[in-house]
Amino acid sequence: MFRKLYLVLSLFVAASMLLAACGGGAATPAPEQPAATEAPTAAPATEAPAEPAATLVMWVDATKAPVFKQVADAFLAQYNVKVDIQITDFGQIRDKFQTAAPTGNGPDIIIVPHDQAGVLVANGLVAPLDLGDKKSAFLQPTLDAFTIDGKLYGMPYAVENVALFYNKDLVTDLPKTWEDLMAAGKKLQDDGKATYCLGFGSPDYHLFSLYTSFGGYIFGKDAQGNYNPQDVGLDSEGFIKAVQFLDENVKNGCLSSTIDGNTALKLFTDGKEPFFISGPWDLEAIKTAKVPYGMSTFPSNGAPFSGVQGFMLNAKSQNLLLAQSFLTEYIATDDVMAQLQTGGNRPSAYKPVFDKISDPDLLAFGQAGANSQPMPAIPAMGAVWANWGTAITLVFQGKQAPDAALQDAAKKIRDVIANPLTGMVNVPGSYQNQAGCGDGDAGNWKPDCAATAMKKSDDGKSYASGPFKLKAGDYEAKVALDGTWTTNYGVDGKAGGDNIKFSLKADGEVSFSYDPETHVLTVTIK
């Protein structure tokens, strides 16, 4: 009897341990191979075997999924390649992809807005792609949006920008300037027909066209036409003027001092707001509300931001060639691109489809975006988003004057972009491991090593460091600014020049001095 019980008990324990072991394995992120690892065979499509020849995994958002599901079915039937469409929230795709991709578990293809492309490239998670002959079928600015360091990383499919919505019952003459717009709104407000003159979702992205009308900009451009993060335009004259204009209109009650996109949308759909700036994402709600709306370009030739949405490829994908072929041969066709345009409510980035737009709303968005500027995709943009809206919010709430708020914001952005070591002058070189920068080779050539950073002289005209006790031997060094190699000087103060050489015949002390005017480094050996 006892033995039997013992047997049953030990069985039970073993089983529970097994279960537990299984549970543990499943709960920890098991590094599985992607599903698409079956032996690939280029079986002729006509035979239609049960097993697909390969599987592509694709992350798309819910609004576009139905279009892609159809495409996937047709693709499976024609080429026996399965496209697994997985639905992910558009805003979350990048975050989730960043988690999944390094482990090899990520999808082969994702859709992302172009301003996230820069980070994905910097993280090494996406592969460049080649559109071949199809390249000329895309609108050039949309290709530029996905080009990073001269390489194309995405296949664009749609462009989105905001447009000026107006209520046809309230507005008969479209305003030519922002002043006209506010005046028209103010009149309606005084007549009790409108709560506010103009509504918008956020004071940064949505109102960008207003800032550009006054000459404001975010980043200046360098000689090659790339955005230059060193030239922050948030506190430029035009920008301050624009915000002063907004401030006046908040003070006279034309604009709400609380910025809230949902409230603005509600007021517009209730017919209590003559003008409303928004994009395709609010179109559905406005249509459903049956408010008599029209759409227009921006007053005073204002240029909105444009965002480009496109496909990107997982650098770790086992099916890179297939994924590219799928995009270029199958997605980049008139038929599929037209379906994507209708399903997504955004003008296509694909010329043959874009040229044939007939839907009035899409046309209006296209016209409003005709002079648009692509949202800067450089990583520095993150700092701008964080501080731009805050500055305008503070002005709207009456906490800060426009110029002060914008100067604060611009300073914060410059701080983030600059990195904490801005202003550091250093002499990275092969002597640094003897000066307290670390051991061996790893302790050398460090432009951010605090132990060898130079001190400014009292008159501010020169920098000095040392003396450092060094062993006899040959050494090389350079001057580097701001703790990075971005700006560095070599022999004779030449930018990016050759290494400066010096040697000690016996153990001794070395000091450096640097002239910020000529960029020449002087080495003194004792």
Binding site: A14, Y79, P102, D130, G132, D133, S325, L394
Partner: protein
Amino acid sequence: MTIANPVPKGKKQTENPFSTLLRLVFVAIFDLGAGWFIYQAVQLGSFQLAGVVGVVFLLVNIVLLLPQAYAYRWMVTGLSFLVLFTIYPMLFTIYIAFTNYGDGHLLTQQQALAVIEKETYLPKTGKSYKWTAFKAPDNTYALWLSDAEGNTYIAKVGTALLPAKPGAPGIGQADSSGIPASIEGFTRLNPILAATDKNLPQIKFGEEGQTIQIRSPSEAAELKPRYIYDAAANTLTDQENGEVYNDVDGTYTSRTSGKQIVPGYRAVVGLRNFVNFVQSPALRGPLLQILVWNFVFPTISVLSTFSLGLAIALLFNDKDFPLKKVFRTLLLIPYTIPSVITVLIWRGMMNPDLGIINHLTKTWLGFSPPWFSEPTWAQAGVLLVNLWLGYPYFMLITSGALQSIPADLYEAAKIDGANSWQSFRNITLPLLLVAVGPLLIASYVYNFNNFGLIYLFINGGPPIVGATTQAGHTDILISYVYNLAFASGGRGVQYGLASAISIMVFFIVGTITLVQFRFTNMWEEVSKNV
């Protein structure tokens, strides 16, 4: 521990051979699984995870195989989970705090090198072609290549390129795009079918030394790997121009030009995250102001929710209270609705333009509180919502605790001539605090990190004027850090920094808890004296 080996030696021999077998089979299966997992983890460069699974692996083996460890067999599952899901994440967080893990340094060194080594370049003398794949029945491939000048070739593995024209012997007639329909012994594949073979891009066509690889659906070229890795020196050499890239904190950087190769990888950077957070004005921001509010917020929250909960509980403690059950049920409702929804409803009700609360105050008081723009009102708003969310909990807890206070104490007090305030002050409160004290601390710690409420209700706003970072008047440490390290803080995702700050927050919360436990000890002294 004297119970380490409760099984007498003689008894071991009675173990059923079947159960021994079962145990060994289980150990074998477990070892196989764990071994495979460790192998995969090492392949991916996740050495820490491999190490931890290794520890669990050893633990399970020792416990199940050594008779001396018999007693621990019952605990081994729990211990394994403890190691995997509590100890490992903690150690991992500490480790991450000392690295630059985040945007730009997301991959491990192996993963980053794998990406970098995949990069190819076309040497100046190299040519590129358009390609069409042909396949033989024995699964070998031939490529039909055409270069920019319009010359066409057939490429096979191991032999030099063969100039060829459509229509020549053994080659079919050209179709509209100038590509032959067939080559003798091979069938033509369309680009998509060809691409289903993922080995195709790896095949090197042409003769040794001048091989051609498929780069994209439209291009095949004489590609060479761009970077060669020297494992001993940990450097990469650019084959195109000979530039050498050294490893600088997880980024391969050229010493001569300062150019960097993307992607970087996760590298240990020492105390930099901690130092930067304390020193750099671009990170620290109005830290002190946030810290002060971070203490004020949970203190007022706990006091207000506890007071209101207790007051209601006292009210209901009266046996003659009419409709007690109905009221109690109604008052519990805030507790039963998910706080995410409640917070958003409050947000809507407090909307200055459309909200019901502001509508009412405007009609009755002629004043619309600026809940989302004035610092003091915003803080009051957060506290108000938290009061609504938190009082039912304390109402429940104190109702229970009140029942456990012996009624004779009150009778004695009455006889001694105490009024009801005195008996509340000297009997109810001290005895209640003994029971509820630890819960007050728990509530304090919870509110200290009450990210959900702050984030959903107001996202830390309104902004602090002149702050050097994105910081608001209702920001607590955890929401401030979230904006700094994850959200739109401008620096992208920074796991290293976030881990460093979370460790600092841990020490703050730990200290508070310790200090407060001292106070609870004090209350226990009270209870002994009663």
